[in-house]
Each structure stands twice: as structure tokens, then as C-alpha cells.
């Protein structure tokens, strides 16, 4: 059981990384990754919603009629999203403001729906949690990596601490949308390249 747990956990990190391999949940990755701080907040929010909803969906999987499963999944997911939204608004108002509409949009983050449909609704709770944690951490790793590059070159800072000398002007392109699109393209190409390298 423990071995299976790790197998599914690792699966989400690299081999089936939700963002780079499955191409889902992209919107928030690009929108939030301007600052590393936002990336960590978003990652935590997604891990929470993904794990809790996977657990609940896996627990109720035998009672849910097949025809109405999608609305039921949506209700479960949106409950946890509402919890995250309200908690962040209450305790971390600056972070909540920085991420804006992307917190409520977690509810339509395709990663969560896709994992609920493809995995959690078919597997026992422990494995569903393993898969959710793996996918969530895989998502957080990618978003943070992109966030580090964008904040470093865009502002010359990491977690709002200056890294480059004061004279550094900051690359506007990294903060603006084009830089984000280019970076995600480069990271997918890099992942393809490294996976091919590992295989051969």
C-alpha cells in the first residue's frame, strides 16, 4: 500500500506533471507567477482544494449515481474553494488581493476536475490523496519555478528581497503576458528534452 502511495505521488511530480505534461490548469500558472510569494500561496490553495475534494469524492464514490456525478463533484470542489477564498480574505488580505479573481477560479481549475473524474472517483481514499498531493506539489513546483525566473528577471528580487544590484532596471517583458507565454513554452520544451534524454 505504501509503495503504491509513493508511486502515485511521484507520478504527478514529473511523468504526468499536470501543467507541463497534461497541459491543464494553465491560466493560474501564468497569471499568478509574477511574484514567488503569490506562487506559494496559489500552490497551497490548490493543494488544499485538490486534496480535500479528492478525499471527499473518493469517499462518496460508491454512493454517487453516474448521471449526476459532475454536478456533485462541482459542489464538493466549490465548497472547498469557498473555504480557501474566505480564509485568505480574512487572514491574508494582501495575498488575496494580489491573486484576485484567480482564487475563485480554482473551482474551474481543470486539474481538480480532471483528477476527480479520472482518478478520485475510481480509487480508494488513500490513493486518491496520494494522487492529489502529487499533482498539487507538481503544480506548485512548476508555478514556483516560473515565478522565480519571472520575479528574478522582472524585478531583480526573490520573495521581495533584492538580488541584483540596485542599478538593475528589470525586464518588463517578464512581468507582461508575452514573457509568461514564452517561459511556459521554454519549460515544456526543456521537459520534453530532459525526458527524452533520460529515456535514451
Amino acid at each position: 500500500m505504501m509503495r503504491e502511495f509513493w508511486h502515485y505521488f511521484r507520478n504527478g511530480l514529473l511523468g504526468e506533471n499536470p501543467v507541463l505534461k497534461l497541459m491543464i490548469g494553465l491560466c493560474s500558472v501564468l497569471a499568478v507567477s509574477v511574484r514567488v510569494e503569490n506562487c506559494l500561496g496559489m500552490g497551497a490553495a490548490v493543494i488544499f482544494v485538490l486534496t480535500c475534494s479528492s478525499l471527499v469524492i473518493s469517499l462518496i464514490r460508491n454512493f454517487v449515481p453516474n448521471e449526476v456525478r459532475i454536478p456533485i463533484f462541482i459542489v464538493v470542489i466549490s465548497t472547498f474553494t469557498t473555504i480557501v477564498d474566505l480564509v485568505m480574505k480574512a487572514y491574508l488580505p494582501p495575498l488575496s488581493k494580489a491573486m484576485g479573481i484567480f482564487i475563485p477560479l480554482i473551482v474551474v481549475n481543470c486539474i481538480i476536475m480532471a483528477r476527480a473524474e479520472a482518478f478520485a472517483s475510481r480509487k480508494p481514499p488513500l490513493l486518491a490523496v496520494a494522487d492529489a498531493l502529487g499533482m498539487g506539489v507538481g503544480y506548485t513546483l512548476v508555478i514556483t519555478a516560473i515565478g522565480i525566473v519571472r520575479e528574478l528577471f522582472g524585478y531583480g528580487e526573490i520573495l521581495s528581497h533584492p538580488v541584483f544590484p540596485r542599478a538593475y532596471q528589470g525586464m518588463m517583458a517578464m512581468i507582461l503576458p508575452p514573457g509568461a507565454f514564452l517561459l511556459i513554452g521554454i519549460s515544456i520544451a526543456l521537459l520534453n528534452w530532459s525526458l527524452r534524454k533520460v529515456k535514451s
Partner: protein, 196 residues
């Protein structure tokens, strides 16, 4: 009257071009990447999104202003809006299938995909957040959908050409699509500053 018209015009330009929902706000990327393999598909998807987006904005606006705000139920927003959209999509699908089979054939297969399209949900949230009137919400959602369709069709055109191009091995597939998107986004940056 005159200033009202000007506001509407501003909403159209900023929603469709300056704040293009995909290229400037990064919302709705999944269908953008997934449905842009051919121009015909992208037009069908654009139509379906426009249709549902306008309907959803109207319904959620009415619910929000006449039920949720008076009763102080704002915290239920996420759950109710997503359920409204899911129900609406089902309803539209059934009605179209029965009454307008031609239109259903053109955009029917795209409808189920729209339920979890973040662009629709985002527009319903934003329309409420901006405090628009009903007319403004209608105009806003139409222009956002227009911007979405323009970006989608543009990318589909590029991807049809890309099929003939010789792309380096590791850039084939999604990476080159993102590079193309990057160039499109740079072009759309040109609209910045058009509306204050």
C-alpha cells in the same frame, strides 16, 4: 445619453482588445490551446462561448442583484455561479438539439467543454465586481467573447501554417504554440494605453 454611449464604447474596446481575456488576462487558456487546431473548429468554439457567456452573465447578474445582495448571501457566490453555468449549458444543449438542429451540429460538441471554461465564470464574476448595469454587462460579455474568438481564430490560423513549417524536434507540439501565443500577446500589447 452621450456619456452613456461613450462608456459602452470604452467597455467594448477595453474588454475585446486592451484587456483581451486570453492574451492579457490569461483566462480561458485550456480551450485556447485545446480547440485551436483548425480555423473551422475555433469558429465553432467561439460561437458556443459567445452564446453561453452572454446568457450566463445575464442570469448571474439578475440573481446577484435581485437575490444575493438583498439577502446578504454573497459568500455563496462561487458555488451558485458555477452551478448556474453548468445548468445553463445543459439547458442550452437540450434546447438546441430539439429546436435548432443546424446550430446544434455546428457548436453542439463544444458545449459540454464550456462548463469548466474559466472564461465564462470569470466574466460572470467580473461583471458583478465592476458594478455594471444590465446593459453594460451584456455589452461587456459580448465584447469579451469577441476578444476570445479573435484570439482563438488568430492562433488557429497560425497553427494551420505551423503544420507545414519545420519546427525543431523539442519545440514541436505545445512549446511552439506558446511561442506563437507570445508573439500574439506582444501584438496585443500595442493596444495598451488605448483606453484609460
Amino acid at each position: 445619453m452621450n456619456t452613456g454611449f461613450l462608456t459602452l464604447f470604452k467597455i467594448i474596446i477595453s474588454a475585446a482588445f486592451v484587456d483581451n481575456i486570453i492574451l492579457a488576462r490569461y483566462i480561458g487558456l485550456c480551450p485556447y490551446i485545446g480547440m485551436s487546431s483548425s480555423v473551422a473548429n475555433s469558429i465553432g468554439m467561439g460561437m458556443a462561448v459567445t452564446f453561453v457567456m452572454v446568457l450566463a452573465s445575464i442570469v448571474t447578474w439578475v440573481l446577484w442583484n435581485f437575490i444575493f445582495v438583498p439577502l446578504g448571501l454573497e459568500y455563496l457566490r462561487i458555488m451558485v455561479f458555477i452551478l448556474v453555468i453548468a445548468t445553463l449549458v445543459q439547458l442550452v444543449e437540450i434546447l438546441l438539439k430539439k429546436n435548432v438542429p443546424n446550430l446544434y451540429r455546428a457548436m453542439g460538441i463544444y458545449l459540454p467543454l464550456i462548463t469548466t471554461n474559466c472564461a465564462i465564470l470569470a466574466v460572470t464574476f467580473l461583471g458583478v465586481d465592476y458594478g455594471y448595469t444590465l446593459l453594460q454587462v451584456v455589452v461587456y460579455s459580448i465584447s469579451v467573447a469577441l476578444g476570445f474568438t479573435v484570439a482563438l481564430v488568430l492562433l488557429a490560423g497560425i497553427r494551420e501554417r505551423l503544420r507545414l513549417a519545420r519546427v525543431p524536434q523539442f519545440w514541436q507540439g505545445y512549446p511552439i504554440v506558446f511561442v506563437a501565443t507570445c508573439l500574439l500577446a506582444i501584438a496585443f500589447l500595442g493596444f495598451k494605453g488605448l483606453v484609460k
